[in-house]
Structure formats: structure tokens, C-alpha cells
Symmetry: C2
Subunit: 332 residues, 2 copies
């Protein structure tokens, strides 16, 4: 166990100075305070608060995402995490984090100061400063949909794209579809690339020729459908698989605008199963990520990392939910 | 909760007959008994023993593997599993399972009869009858190094080949190696294929040309080194990455036989970090799978599946252990 004395020796300062630094006292310079906190983290020091069993605290940091309402993707993920953590007597705080806050305060420092034993990152992108700090953090951390190489303290949690997309293709093939288009999300994202590869693999496995002009990277919004769907339909696509439900909403609208009926003329499949998707005029067939389970799995992974099991990644099985936006192919 | 009455109604037999079937009584036919057990499993029936908290039981089934001595791969995996399960008050039984036994008794039936809540499969191959039954089992099951598609009750646990092989290539590149050979294990194995892909990806990422004649599938033994190493050396390979430590033992021996010094003339890297590898004459640089952690992760995954979190796969981070079998490249 690392002691305050050891930190003091390493830094060549007094024990009382280290104590001040760890407790955020105002009578030492911010630079020294930061250096004490950094050293404490580097040496694996735990605050008394972290050691006391009656104040076991975890934190969920949320960036770029809403989570207050049950319609938001993150809402149920957070719920699932809390449910699983509760079983092990953790108290969990949810904190929305801005870019500005991340620039002001280092991740490890924030964790140590506040006595958190581990954290779950939701919605973070490469633009978030804390993501880059995860390469070297010693804080047990779980990250949704992002992978940090080689750091044993950080685990990646996500959904198995490969299995979900394969189930979607299998469903379409069983309905007689062969001209299957894929409108994926924005390029340069790990999730986009995983879904792209999963699509190509599954098409190959089902012996369906891949027509390059039927595969496109749009954006993670409903609007990019207008840029691709007309060409898909002109080329005779009978089904469009979409990178997310939100993309599928745009595709539904665009097909409607062009006078194609869903599912009679064209089948559409989304991914995620957002709360709205079951309640559209044409209820969406989609690859469900069970958000509560995803939250639970994130806690399970964090529990592993906190117990010195360096998890690289752990993936949830998705589930194909068949609703009204897919049907048997009819020759046009 | 499913009751004995419901099972009786489904089968059109009396409650006492179902009770006899579940308890293995000898005065009903084996066929009827099997059918009762099958139906109970299918309907998600839990025996009283499974429900009683004071007899929480898990089982580790071992096939095709030794595990009694600390030199065996499975020994520490089992230890890690038991350590993690102990934390949650499970009692764990380890059972070696023969092909004959698997043919005689169905997996689900065995689990139900013996009151096990979940199981961990170690060393199973496609020749094991129980592996094929995992596609439809409703028993929470975790499988080391094998993936079962789409069944939410079965999770795959393994080591992240991609990260381990990338660390090995990075190490070799940092030592100046560019003519890197890869002697992988037997073809038609998921692990072999994952390692093969990881090798190709990492070589590409490091901008090292892949020479097809320097990449080979041997077998998972020490003897196949004789079939490939002479050609690797003739072609000027300065390093040989091996699919397992056992393959590396063969490569070390073969290099010695051909008069090549390790690591002066040729660098060798294994994978697994078997207990023996640190104690060879030339201690082996290798990609470690931490076996205790692998066991712990397997329990963590089983715990998830038992709590209705359908884990597809979960991977442990490997670690490159640098010893004496690798060194800076010297032009020959």
C-alpha cells in the first residue's frame, strides 16, 4: 500500500505538504498541488475515502449526450449500470462533462480528489480531452464504443456488430432479398468500420454479390438519406440496411417522398432500437442494442478492471427485432 | 416461475411422474425421464437445489486437457475461476469429461440433475458432443476460446490476439527486424485464424511487407517446426513469431540443430507464457495469457450470463514478456 510518506519522499516535500495537495488546500501553489496529485495517481495511492467501505463511489461521465429522459439512448444505459452496481453496494454519481471542464481539470486528478474508485464514460469522442488521457490513466475505467490500446485499466464495452448485422442479412435473405444496400454512418469512426466489415463479411457468407454503389458512408443523422437513397432505388435495391435507427428514419422519409411504399416496395432495417422506433407509422425492424443490459455489462467490466482483470473488450449480443418495415421481396 | 404442474400439463403426465423424472427415480422409463428433464430445461425450470442460496453450485468441465499440476495450462485458469466465484459464495466442482460420457448424457440434463446454476467449459473442441449442444442450451455457460453464435446463454472468453501479436511485432520492429516469419498452429481453428489475421493486420500497420512463404500453418506441437523452420532461415528470416510457446520450443530446438544461435542469429517469440517458458536454457520472449486472470474473467462472464446479460465475447488483454530469445537484428 502506497503511503503519504512515500509520495513525500518521491517529491522531496514534507508529509504535510502532500496531505495539503491531496485535500485541495489553498495555501500551496496549484502547480505543486497538481504534481502531488499526479504522483499519487502514478504510485497507485488511494485516498481514505476510496478505502472506506461505507463510501464506495463510482462515477458515470456523460459527454455529447442527453440522458435525462427515457427517450434518450443513455437513460437506460445509466439505469442498467446503476442496477448492477447497486448489487455490490456502490453509490453511483452521474456527471455531464463539458469540453471546457475537461480542459480545466485532469481526469485522474478529478477522480482522486473526489474519491471515485472507477468510472464509466458515455458518449465520449476523440474531441474530448479526457479520452486522450485514458491511454495512461491508472483509474479503472470503462468506455462505451471506444477502444484504448494496451492500457490494462481501461476496458471497451460495446455491442457485437458482427452478430447483429448477420442476423439482419439472414432475415432479408430469408425474405428473398438479394439487392441489399447499406447506408452506414460517418467514416473515421471505429463503430462505422466495424459495421462496414460486418456487412461485407455477412454478405459474403450468404453468397450475395456486393455492389459497391449500394454501400455508402453517410452521417449519423436522418438527413444524409437524401444523398444516397435515390441512387440505391434507381439501381433496384429491394432492401436498405441502415447504420442506426436515426439513419433509418431518414431513409423511411426519403422512400416515402420518392413514392416507394415500405415494406411493399422496399424493406428497411435500422440498428439500436431507439424508444421511438417501435412507434413510427411503419414500426421499424431493427438490430436492438439492449441498453439496460449494455449498462449492466459496463458495470461488470468495470468490476473486472477494478479487480485486476485487464479486460480488452466485452461485447453484448444484439437481437433482431422484426416489425413492419421488412417484407418479402416483390419484383418491381 | 415455472412449476412442476406446468411441466406436467405440457407433457400430459401426472405431477408425481414429473417429480420422479426430475429426481431420477428408477420406476419410470429412461425415455420419459429424459423427456421430462428436456421439457424442464426448455421451460426454464429450476430445481429446489438451484434456488436454495446455501447450495449455489457451478461446474467446470474439462475435456482434452490436464489440469492437476501447476505446469498445466488449465491449472491456473481453474484457480482464477474459483477465486472469483468464491467472492460471490459459489461452490465450484471441477469435472474431467470424456467423449463417452458426453455421448451418454445430455449437457442440460446433467446440469439440471446435479443442480448446477452455470458452467465453464475448458479445452472443448468441435469433436466434443456437448459443444454442439451449446447452440440450443438454456444453461448459463462460458466457453474458453470458442464462439457459439446467437445463443444468449453462452459467452465466449479468450485473449485479445490482436493486441498481443501487435505488441510482439512492435517489439521486433523496435529491434530492427523486418524479415519476420510466422509459424502458426493447425488450420481450421478459430484461434489460429484470429492469430493469422492479427499477424497480417499488424505487419500492414507497421508497413512491413508480408512474404507469403514466411507465413505457415503447422500444428499445435513442437514437431512441426522441422517442416518450416529450414525454409524460413534459408529465406533470410531474422525473427520467427510462433502461434504458441509449444511451437516455439520446437523452433528453438530446430534453430539449434541447424546451427543458428538464439537470439544472436534469430529471434523467437512464443504465445501463452506456459510455466516452463521462463526456465528454458534460453528463456522465451512470449505473449502472456495471464491464466489466473483468464479464469477470473470467465467467472465474470458467467456471472453476467446468469444475470441475463447476454455476453457475446469478452477478451483479456495479453502482455508481452520480454526475455532472452529476442535481440537486435544483425545482418547475416
Amino acid at each position: 500500500m502506497v503511503t503519504i510518506k512515500q509520495i513525500a519522499e518521491r517529491l522531496g516535500v514534507s508529509i504535510s505538504t502532500v496531505s495539503k495537495g491531496l485535500n485541495g488546500a489553498s495555501d500551496i501553489s496549484p502547480e505543486l498541488s497538481q504534481s502531488i496529485l499526479d504522483t499519487a495517481v502514478e504510485m497507485g495511492y488511494q485516498t481514505k475515502r476510496m478505502k472506506r467501505a461505507d463510501s464506495k463511489k463510482l462515477c458515470i461521465f456523460v459527454s455529447n449526450m442527453d440522458y435525462e429522459s427515457a427517450n434518450h439512448f443513455a437513460y437506460d444505459v445509466i439505469l442498467g449500470f446503476k442496477q448492477a452496481a447497486f448489487r455490490d453496494n456502490w453509490s453511483v454519481t452521474t456527471l455531464p462533462i463539458t469540453y471546457h471542464f475537461q480542459d480545466k481539470e485532469k481526469y485522474d486528478t478529478f477522480m482522486l480528489k473526489n474519491g471515485y474508485s472507477g468510472a464509466f464514460f458515455l458518449g465520449f469522442s476523440l474531441l474530448d480531452a479526457w479520452i486522450n488521457q485514458l491511454e495512461n490513466t491508472t483509474m479503472p475505467t470503462v468506455l462505451l464504443d471506444n477502444y484504448i490500446k494496451a492500457n490494462p485499466h481501461v476496458a471497451y464495452v460495446g455491442t457485437d456488430s458482427s452478430e447483429g448485422i448477420d442476423a439482419a442479412i439472414e432475415h432479408l435473405v430469408s425474405l428473398g432479398h438479394r439487392k441489399i444496400a447499406f447506408l452506414n454512418g460517418s467514416p473515421h469512426s471505429m463503430i462505422t468500420e466495424l459495421r462496414q466489415q460486418a456487412f461485407l463479411d455477412s454478405m459474403n457468407e450468404h453468397n450475395i454479390p456486393i455492389i459497391p454503389t449500394l454501400v455508402a458512408n453517410g452521417r449519423y443523422d436522418a438527413e444524409s438519406a437524401r444523398d444516397y437513397v435515390p441512387a440505391f432505388l434507381e439501381q433496384g435495391a429491394t432492401a436498405i440496411l441502415c447504420g442506426t435507427d436515426v439513419i433509418a428514419y431518414g431513409v423511411l422519409k426519403e422512400c416515402d417522398r420518392l413514392g416507394y411504399r415500405v415494406p411493399q416496395d422496399i424493406s428497411i432495417i435500422g440498428a439500436d432500437d431507439l424508444p421511438l422506433s417501435a412507434h413510427l407509422n411503419i414500426a421499424l425492424t431493427t438490430i436492438r442494442q439492449n441498453r439496460v443490459q449494455l449498462g449492466k455489462l459496463s458495470y461488470i467490466a468495470l468490476d473486472g478492471v477494478m479487480n485486476q482483470v485487464p479486460i480488452s473488450k466485452t461485447l453484448l449480443r444484439p437481437q433482431l427485432i422484426v416489425r413492419n418495415s421488412t417484407a418479402k421481396v416483390v419484383d418491381r
